[in-house]
């Protein structure tokens, strides 16, 4: 199917209408401020009003409704108390989902940061720094769905007798091993999904950390070198402590992103074979199984889990900023 510009024209019009409406609201506010003699406080309120309105309609109200739904039965009309939360911590499959989410949140940020840090440390003084960093950054340009499809092929399984189409099994067979069903064998399949996530995120960590490493004052490392410190000691004792704030930002950003991991799971296994995570299970329960209450409960738990990370990041940013 080709992209038909004429057929898409109404959508373009909707876009223009949206932009125009946005501009109209902004100009009405500006005009109001400009004409009416308002005090500072009132002016602040007028300027904040559209944002507050959008946050209320788009975030606060749906959030409260989700909270309410999480205490109701599947159809959303009968009160179910804490049933949905009890289900989450007693159902064996839901527990697998919680376990996987924990594994993701512990492993993805730490592996991503570790890979990014070592890579940044290795290339930061090299002549090919820009090239090397963009190489690692490239997977970030691919959407999670694209990355999921790519890695699904990497892990593809074919029986021993025929040619392997998956890179990993091809290597295994080349070294005389038996092909394995990487995405099927629980619980290790969770690790293979995590590798795909790390692959997409390591570049982001490396670029931020490389920037931070370059910002470490030259006098510091020079002084250490004069004192006879080895490159390894300089890296671990001088560089890493100096870039701690950046490290923290990277780890937190990764953790927040990982909680919401959905696309990779959906494209690679569809949450089968015991690989589900909260964000994916929430979708399945609410939209595929019609268990709105359970889906909402999972959403609430996800929100509660992410909140401390977001709060910490906001505070950290306020400190550094």
């Amino acid at each position: 199917m080709s992209f038909d510009a004429v057929a898409q024209q109404p959508k373009l019009m909707y876009l223009l209408q949206g932009l125009a409406a946005f501009a109209a609201v902004v100009s009405v506010i500006l005009l109001a401020l400009h004409r009416a003699p308002v005090r500072r406080r009132a002016a602040a309120l007028i300027l904040l009003a559209p944002a507050l309105l959008l946050l209320t309609v788009g975030l606060l109200l749906p959030g409260l409704r989700t909270l309410a739904l999480s205490f109701t039965d599947d159809g959303g009309d009968t009160w179910a108390g804490l049933d949905n939360y009890v289900w989450m911590v007693t159902d064996p499959r839901a527990l697998v989902v919680l376990r996987n989410t924990l594994a993701w949140v512990v492993l993805v940020p730490s592996l991503t940061t570790a890979v990014g840090l070592l890579y940044a440390g290795a290339v930061v003084r090299s002549r090919f720094r820009t090239f090397a960093l963009s190489l690692l950054l490239m997977p970030m340009a691919i959407s999670f769905v694209g990355a999921g499809v790519v890695w699904k092929f990497v892990y593809a399984y074919r029986p021993a007798a025929v040619e392997q189409i998956g890179l990993l099994n091809r290597l295994v067979v080349a070294f005389g091993g038996e092909p394995r069903q990487w995405l099927v064998d629980s619980p290790w399949n969770v690790m293979f999904l995590i590798v795909a996530m790390v692959w997409t995120q390591a570049g982001f960590a490396a670029v931020l950390l490389a920037g931070a490493i370059r910002a470490v004052p030259g006098e510091l490392t020079e002084a250490a070198r004069l004192d006879g410190a080895s490159p390894r000691q300089i890296f671990w004792r001088i560089t890493v402590p100096s870039i701690r704030p950046t490290l923290l930002v990277v780890v937190l950003a990764q953790a927040i992103g990982t909680f919401k991991a959905f696309d990779i799971v959906k494209t690679m296994t569809g949450g089968q074979f015991g690989t589900g995570v909260i964000a994916h299970e929430m979708y399945d329960q609410a939209f595929r199984y019609g268990e709105t209450g359970r889906g909402a409960a999972l959403a609430v738990v996800l929100f509660l889990l992410v909140t401390p990370f977001v709060a910490h990041q906001v505070r950290a940013r306020r400190r550094t900023g």
Binding site: L31, Q181, F273, D284, Y289
Partner: protein, 443 residues
Amino acid sequence: MRFGARLALAVITLVVTVTACGTPRSSDSRAHTTADCGPYARYGEHPGTEVTVYAENRDREADLFEETWAAFADCTGIDVQYEGDGEFEARIQLRVDGGNAPDVAFFPQPGLLERFAKAGRLKPASAGVVALAKQGWSADWNGYATVDGTLYGTPLVANVKSLVWYSPRFFRDRGLSVPRTWSELMAVTEKVAASGVKPWCAGIESAEATGWPVTDWIEEVLLRQQGTDVYDQWVAHEIPFNDPRVIRAMDTVGSVLKNDRYANGGFGPARSMASISFQEAGTPVLSGDCAMHRQASFYADLWPKGTEIGPDGDVHTFLLPGADRTSRPVLGGGVFTAAFADRPEVRAFQEYLATADFANARMKKGPFVSANRGVDPANAATPVDRLSIQLLQDPRTQFRFDGSDLMPASVGAGTFWRGAVDWIGGASTRQVADSVERSWPEN
């Protein structure tokens, strides 16, 4: 004028211009056919109206639908806007909750239709549709679109699942004849296995739906071993999911699918089927690496290009046999129309879809099976479609709908599928059946 006022004026001018020329045009560039409008006279004239249709079918299947109702649309003046979406099952709920429900939806699962009917979102079928439904389909079939005694739509598509694909040449070369009873089927299975070829091939990978082909197998065998009554009770959860009779059916399936001597032909050990997509699972039949592949009529479209289907072709099908020669248990699935609106043009369109005329016209355009009594098997596009229609019209046939589509979605599209995957992966029958039983919603 100061800057702020000038800016505001400019913006307002822009808004007015854009809104004025932004009214979406109806892009009805379809060439008017000179088709005879006589047959469509009874649907009346509805010039300038629009009916939106939302369904799962995309690409070629969608084109064939649109071609089929083009003449209806031209003659009645109704602009039928079709939208196909591979994520239909998940998104229909969002569309309806968001106040953006289509006029007509094609539901691939009766359970999903029931959910919207119970929520009061669907409009009951018009008197015209009810009459057409009674005339066209058996009570069983209409029952799948009936909720609490009210009919909401009609069956649109039917597919027959109880088919075994095989290579006639493979059978001829080994002197095998097509089995007519379950024990003959097992004899053929053993004979092929003894000759060093794994008799069965299967693949159950299907993204988040992984596992469904195994659930079909279990339903087939339960239907054959215990008959329609026990099957219906099991689907309706009047007997527990882990009833001993169900366990027995699962163990029978296990003796084939979980048996490394019998499966998975062309792909390795039995548990390799978890990695093999259902689309490619049957291909070893062509190379002689497996003898049989149980899959629905729609598998006809999934063979590699150039594969000839028929008694003298590369592959053909036989009915998965019942316990004896006289029984004709057939498991199948279907798609049902239902409407979220009751405007006259929507009624007219739904009535048109309920006629045998529509089904016959659609069959002439390409592979399609309808359970409507009025369809002519001669119109079938392929030998498999013809066989399917004959089976559906045969009065001896005991048709039963795919049970996992009738169970609550959290079981039928959730724990049952997942349980089937665990089971193929090595979990015991008891363990899996118990866990599915525990997951059944309480009310």
